[in-house]
Each structure stands twice: as structure tokens, then as C-alpha cells.
Symmetry: C2
Subunit: 197 residues, 2 copies
DNA sequence: CATAAAACATACTAATTAGTATCTTATGAA
DNA sequence: TTCATAAGATACTAATTAGTATGTTTTATG
């Protein structure tokens, strides 16, 4: 990894952190370069425009992050219902970096940018769809193994679940992380009701 | 209603429409006054700042709108489960004004402004809580009447439902209104499972 | 009608924005 | 070492922003 690509990645990483806390449009290029040892010349050497940087950020920082936390844990899951619950629990308790106040990076980005920038919408849509499909095939798998009820519609449930997650992250912005626990309780009930008796 | 308070309300109404489509921070005062027959003098006569206008907009335009569509239909409901489903169906099929592309005005506002402006967060929190409480007492009522299962936790379910709605509106921003129908199908299953056998 | 205050209009300001023009310095291959 | 290019630095620009200063017009009330 040479120095140049490192500054590039640093810009993307730092931008992600700022965008996560302040929103994409509210984060100016001046903000970004001010919080790190980079000048405007460097920024515009690596990216033609703010939006090009933003898209690279979504693709190169957010996508791998989502893949590791949202896809990987599902593919090898023995019991999809438990795996999904534990994933949600993990997502909603990881206060290391993510903050209830700022919600989910991807969902916030969707809320702000989906109708503003078509490329952003496409890429974020791809990522959400990936998550849904991972859940869906995990549930389908559980159905074949006799863990999940036959009448369950995996794709439908996956949409219900991913949307529910997006929603609770939004709700958490208003009421704080206490709502996470209440949500998780009801989620568990919902998921268990999908399980074969 | 005298002329002055009418211009005030016009500013609030027009602002709401612009904010709904473009977001709060992306909507400039110049945008607002340009799309209607009002000048900057009038704007700043009625409001000390953009944020004061924004808060008035949330309180005086959004709050009554939410009350009429989210609270009223629940208080007199005979069967809460059917009432809730039909409310959701109504919310997700009303293409008169609301557009899947732009999501739910209140939820989008929360996503963008909850962590930026404390007053906005408070007021929007109040409105969401009102909705949750209306659902909760409606469910509690149904439980007493033997419509809703005894083991159901009304407040917990209310949070689950309102968050789910917020989530599907966000998802709709990415994939369009088709996801609404899929969501509604799973919602119906979820709600029916709360009903006494 | 007179007049004071309310309601609005116009022209500005200072700060911030994305982006550019032009420079300097670092790096790697011959 | 040389030198071309990659990488980065600096100083600008034009547009947009929220907000202000200072005007003019409308409206209600005596």
C-alpha cells in the first residue's frame, strides 16, 4: 500500500465518520480536509468531485463493513432464527463506534440521499438487497431443514426484518438506545413464531 | 383569519412541501420565498430564524396532520388489529400527496434532524410517542375485550409497529412503492398472530 | 381623515460552499 | 543523477447561504 492510496483511503474513512455524525450534505469538503492532514489539492487530486468521493466512500468503506457484519454471520448459520436475532442484538449493542443518536450509517444515508443522488440510491439499494437476500436464503435453508415453518415466505420476512431494523435505528435517534431492548424483545417473539413447533 | 397570519401559514405550508421533497437543510430560505409571493422581509418578520420557522412547521403543520391520520382512526376502533392494518394500508397507498421516493415526512425529518436540533427531536419525539400510545391503548383495549391475546405487550408491539412503518418508508425510498405491498402482507400475518384464536 | 404600528419590500453583508488555476514537492524508472 | 510524472499545497473564484439594515406600504384605531 503506497502513500498515495493511503491518503485516499484516509479521506474516505474520515469522510465516513463525519458523514455518519453530521450527514452527507452537511459535511463540507473543508470540514473533511480540516480534520485531517490533507489539503484541498490532495482531495481534488484523488476525487473529481464531492459526490465522486461520496460514492467511493459508500462503495469502499460502507459496503465491506456491511458485508462483514450483515452477510458473513448468516451464510454459515445453523439456525437462521437464532442467527438473525443474535445479529440484530449485536448490531444494536455495538456502542464501540455506532451511536444510537446517529442511527445506522446506511439507513441514514438512504434517508438523506436516495432521492437526491441516483448513484447513491443504486449502490445503497444493492447493499440492502444483499442483506435481504442473505436473510432470505438463510430462512429458506432453515425451512428445508425443518427449523422454519413451511408457510413462511423468506423474502417477505427478510424485507420485514431489514425494514424493522432501519425503523428502530431511526426511532433510537429520538428516544435513545433504550428502545433497542424493547424492540429486541418483540423481535424475539416474532422470530420464534416462525419456528416449527 | 387576517392576511398576516395567512402569509405565515402559507410560508409554513410551502416550507413543509419543499422540506418534504428536498430535506430541511437543503431547503434554503431563498428557495422558500422564491416559490411563493413572499419576500425575505416578510419571512423574517414572521420568524426570527430558519430554525424557528422549521419548528413552527413541525408543530403547526406536521403535528395536526399526524393527529388526523394516525391518532383519530385508532381511538374509536372496534377491532384494533384490523384498524392498525387498515391505517398502515392507507398510509402506504395514499399517493395523493406522499411519494414513495420521499418517504414519510416525519421519519425523514427525524433521520435528518434528530441529532442536529434538540427542539426538533423533542417535538418529533412527542408526535411519535403519541402515535405509539394511541396504538398501545388501542391494543390494550382489544386485549380487555378478548380480541387480542393476553400475552401481548401493547407498548412493545406499538414500538415494533411504528418502527416497522418508519423502516418500510425508508426502504421504499430505495426500491419504490412495490415493497409496500410485500410489507403489508407480512404485517397482516404478524398482526393476525396477535389475535385470540 | 390622521397616524402609529404592523406587515412587507429591497438591497445589502459576511460566512461558507464546491471547485479551479497554478504552483511546489515527492517518487520511481532510466 | 536526471527528469517526467504523480501527489500534494496554496490562493483564488463564483455561487449560495442565513441574516440585517433600512426602507415603503397596509391596516386598524382614535
Amino acid at each position: 500500500m503506497n502513500k498515495a492510496t493511503l491518503t485516499r483511503l484516509n479521506i474516505l474513512q474520515k469522510s465516513f465518520e463525519l458523514v455518519y455524525k453530521n450527514g452527507y450534505q452537511a459535511t463540507s469538503i473543508d470540514d473533511i480536509i480540516a480534520t485531517m492532514k490533507v489539503t484541498k489539492g490532495a482531495f481534488f487530486y484523488h476525487f473529481k468531485s464531492k459526490d465522486e468521493m461520496g460514492l467511493a466512500m459508500v462503495k469502499e468503506v460502507m459496503r465491506p463493513g456491511m458485508y462483514d457484519t450483515l452477510i458473513i454471520p448468516l451464510v454459515a448459520a445453523e439456525d437462521p432464527l437464532t442467527a438473525i436475532y443474535e445479529m440484530m442484538e449485536g448490531l444494536l449493542s455495538d456502542t464501540l463506534f455506532f451511536d444510537a443518536r446517529y442511527g445506522c450509517p446506511a439507513m441514514s444515508m438512504i434517508a438523506e440521499m436516495a432521492s437526491v443522488n441516483e448513484s447513491f440510491r443504486e449502490e445503497l439499494g444493492f447493499q440492502v438487497k444483499q442483506w435481504q437476500e442473505a436473510m432470505s436464503s438463510s430462512l429458506e435453508n432453515g425451512r428445508k431443514k425443518g427449523i422454519v415453518k413451511q408457510e413462511v415466505h423468506p423474502g417477505q420476512v427478510a424485507l420485514f426484518l431489514t425494514s424493522g431494523y432501519a425503523g428502530i435505528r431511526n426511532t433510537g435517534k429520538v428516544f435513545g438506545r433504550e428502545v433497542y431492548d424493547v424492540y429486541l424483545k418483540e423481535l424475539k417473539i416474532y422470530l420464534e413464531q416462525l419456528r416449527c413447533d
